[in-house]
Symmetry: C2
Subunit: 410 residues, 2 copies
C-alpha cells in the first residue's frame, strides 16, 4: 500500500473544505484532461501491445521527445525496467556528445522510433528527427521510415498532419492533457508498453490513487497542499527519495512542480520551488544546508518498504573498522531505510515541515499510485495558490528570442 | 579561455576591498589545504601512473566512495571520458538494485577497487567493501585483495590503519582538505589518472584559475560573491549548464555549495541554496518558475563555446514542419548555445541577477579551471557570509540517530 504521514499540525478542517468543492468542480468540468486518463487509456495499451507484437527482434525503443514527452517515461523506466525488458533510449537534448554516445551502438533494423511532441513543433525533437533521417539515409516517404517511426502528438498538430501525409502510425495525447501531466496518456504508455513494462498496472495504481484521494487520503493531501501554499517562509519543497533508482523520478517531480506552480498573477509572482535529492548519497551533500541553513524548506521523505532484494552487509569484522560493524547482517534495503528514518528524525527535531511517503513495494501499481498522487497534489497546490496550474506562458519569450537571433544570423 | 561576465551592476570597490585581504590571509595561513593542491599533487599523479602501468588488462576502476569521495571524479568522468578510456564505476549508495546492476558484469580479474573515505569510516563505503569481499570470496589478508584494493584516506584514519595492517597501497588526502574540496587531491586524481584522463591538465587549469583569480578575475569573483551574500531576497543560486554531459558536474556544484554555505551562526541560520539545471532540457521544466515565479533566485549560465563536434541539423524540410527549418544547417553545438543565449536574454529581461560562464573548449585544462573557480567562489561567499565554509556539523545528528536506532534493534 501507499502511506503518507504528516509530521506537522493540521489546520482546522473548515479552512480546507472550500477547496474540496472547488477541486471537485475542476474534476467534474472535464476541462483538465489528466483526471480521465486512468479510466480512458486502456485502449492505448492494447494498441501499443499489437504494435509490439508486429515487430520481431525489437531491441531498442528510441524516444525523440523532451520535457513532458520524456521525463515521466524515463522515471518509470529507471524504477521498473528489468534486464529482460527492451532498451529505452531518450534523445532529448541537442548536446552533440551525448547524442553521439547514444547513437553509437544503435542497430536500425532492431529499433523503433517514437516522435513525441504535444505541440508537434518542439525544436529539439524535430531537429533530432532530421539528424536521424540523415544518419539512416531515409526519406520521409520511404518504407523503412513508415515502418519504424511512430508519432505521438496532439490531434491536428503540424506533426499529426506530417504523420497523416506520410502514413505514419500515430497515437494521440488528448487535447486537454498538458505535457507534464501526460505520463498516463499515449506519451508514456506507448513507449513503456513497447519496452515491456506493465502499463496496465500503472493505470490501475493511478486509478486507485484517485479513489484513495477521494476517500481517506483526501484530508492528508489537502492539509499538505495547504501547508505548502500558505507557509510563505518555506517556499522550497524538497523531495528526499531513498534509492538511486529514483533519480529520474526526481526530475519528473521537478518539472511537474516548477512548471505548474511558478506563475505570475497580475503583478505578483507566485511559486513553489522544487528540489529533489537522493538518499543516502545526498546526506553527504545537501543535508547540511537542510539542518543548519535558513528554514525556507519543507521536506518529504520517500521510501520503498520492501525492495524484495536479499543483498546484505556480510558479517565481516575488519580490523580498525569495527565501529562500522553495527551495519553487519543488515539487508542493504533495511540499512537504506533506516538511514532515511534517522535523517528524517534529525530534520523533524529542527522544527522543519516534514512528511513521509511509504510505498509497500516497487511495482507498476505503486509507481502509478505515486505519480498520480503527485499530480493531484500539484493540482491542489495550484488551486490554493490561486494560479493556473496548467499553462506555461513564461517559456515562450525565450523561444521568440531564439528565432529572432537565428533569423538575424542567417 | 575562461570568461565570466556579470549582467548586474557592480558595487563600489571599497565595499569588497576588505574581503580581498581577508581571503588572502586565509590563503596564506595554510590552514585550508585545497589552495595548495594544484601546486603539490603532481607526485600523486606520477604515483598513480606507475600504478596504472603495473596492471595489464585493466578494464574497470571501481570507486567505493560517496559525497566528496565520488562527486568530483564523476563530474570529470562525464565531461571528459573518451571511448578509449577505462570504465569508471561508482559504488556510492546502499540501493540494492542499483548496486546489483553495477556489479552484474564486473570482471574481478580486470578491475581494481579504490576505497575512498576521508574519515575512513563512512558507513556506505565500508558496508559496500564488505559486500565486495563476500561477492569475490576474499579475505583481507589474501593476495588478490592486497593486489586489487587501494585505499585513499586521511593519514592515521582507521582506514589507514587497516591499509597498513594488510599491506594495501594507499594514497592520502591532506588532513586540511575537506571531502568536497578534494577533487584535486588523490581522491580525484588517482581514479581519473587510472581511467586515462589527463589529470595533469586538470591541475594546470586549476593553477591558472588561481593566478587568474589573483589578477584580472579577482574583482569579478568578488562582485559575484558579494551579490550572492548580501542579496537576501535571492538566496537560491541556480546554475544552468548547457549540455547533458554537465549532469554530474551539477551534482558536484550542489554538494560544494550546500554543504559549505548552509551554517548556523549562533541562533541564526545562514545559507545559500544551490539548484542545478541542464539546458536546453530544463527550459521545458524549470524555466517557467524562473521566469514567472518569485524573484528569489540568481542564475548562472554555463556553456562550452567550441565543442569540436561537427554534428548538425541537416537541410531537410519536412511537410507541415517547416516552421522548424530555421534550425537547418546549424551545428547542434551552436543551436544549443543559441538556446542558452536566448534563454539568458529572457531571464535578464525579467531583472534577475544573471551571469555567464564561457569555456572556450572541453578539455582537462578548462574543467580544472572551472572547478577551481567554483571552489574559490565558494570560499569567497563563505567569508562574506561570515561562516565556517569548511565544516559540516549538521550531518552528525543523523549519524548518531542511525547508530542508536540500529543498536536498539539488535
Amino acid at each position: 500500500m501507499f502511506k503518507n504521514t504528516l509530521f506537522f499540525k493540521p489546520v482546522d478542517k473548515e479552512l480546507i473544505y472550500e477547496y474540496i468543492s472547488r477541486l471537485n468542480s475542476e474534476i467534474k468540468s472535464k476541462e483538465i484532461g489528466y483526471y480521465e486518463l486512468p479510466h480512458s487509456e486502456e485502449g492505448t495499451i492494447l494498441k501499443a501491445k499489437e504494435l509490439k507484437d508486429s515487430f520481431r527482434d525489437l531491441e531498442n525503443i528510441v524516444v525523440l521527445g523532451t520535457g513532458g514527452s520524456s521525463l515521466g517515461t524515463k522515471a518509470i523506466k529507471s524504477l521498473l525496467l528489468d534486464k529482460d525488458d527492451k532498451n529505452l533510449i531518450f534523445l532529448e537534448n541537442l548536446d552533440p556528445i551525448a547524442t553521439e554516445r547514444k547513437l553509437a551502438n544503435l542497430n536500425f533494423e532492431k529499433s523503433i522510433f517514437l516522435i513525441i511532441s504535444k505541440s508537434g513543433t518542439t525544436v529539439e525533437t524535430i531537429s533530432l528527427l532530421k539528424v536521424l533521417l540523415q544518419r539512416f539515409n531515409l526519406s520521409a516517404d520511404s518504407k523503412e521510415f513508415q515502418e519504424r517511426f511512430i508519432v505521438i502528438t496532439d490531434k491536428n498538430s503540424p506533426l499529426d498532419s506530417f504523420a497523416n501525409k506520410f502514413n505514419l502510425k500515430s497515437f494521440y495525447i488528448p487535447h486537454n492533457v498538458g505535457g507534464r501531466f501526460s505520463v498516463f496518456s499515449a506519451a508514456g504508455l506507448v513507449p513503456l508498453t513497447l519496452a515491456g513494462i506493465d502499463s496496465k498496472g500503472l493505470l490501475e495504481g493511478a486509478k486507485e490513487s484517485f479513489v484513495f484521494f477521494q476517500n481517506e487520503e483526501f484530508e492528508t493531501i489537502m492539509q499538505k497542499a495547504f501547508r505548502y501554499a500558505i507557509h510563505k517562509q518555506a517556499s522550497i519543497n524538497v523531495l528526499f527519495s531513498y534509492g538511486d533508482i529514483f533519480a529520474d523520478f526526481n526530475d519528473w517531480y521537478v518539472q511537474l512542480w516548477a512548471e505548474s506552480l511558478g506563475k505570475k498573477d497580475g503583478y505578483s509572482r507566485l511559486g513553489l520551488t522544487p528540489i529533489a535529492l537522493i538518499g543516502s548519497t545526498d546526506q553527504h551533500s545537501f543535508l547540511q544546508l537542510l539542518m543548519e541553513g535558513p528554514k525556507d524548506k519543507t521536506v518529504t521523505f520517500l521510501k520503498i518498504l520492501n525492495w524484495d532484494n536479499e543483498m546484505s552487509v556480510p558479517k565481516i569484522s575488519l580490523d580498525f573498522l569495527k565501529e562500522c560493524d553495527f551495519c553487519n547482517e543488515l539487508k542493504l534495503e533495511s540499512l537504506l531505510n533506516t538511514q532515511c528514518s534517522a535523517t528524517m528524525q534529525s530534520i523533524i527535531q529542527e522544527g522543519i515541515t516534514t512528511d513521509l511517503i511509504e510505498l509497500d513495494k516497487l511495482d507498476a501499481w505503486h509507481i502509478g499510485f505515486l505519480m498520480y498522487y503527485y499530480e493531484l497534489l500539484t493540482s491542489t497546490c495550484g488551486l490554493m495558490l490561486g494560479i493556473n496550474t496548467y499553462d506555461q506562458p513564461g517559456v515562450e519569450v525565450g523561444k521568440r528570442i531564439l528565432k529572432s537571433i537565428l533569423k538575424v544570423k542567417k
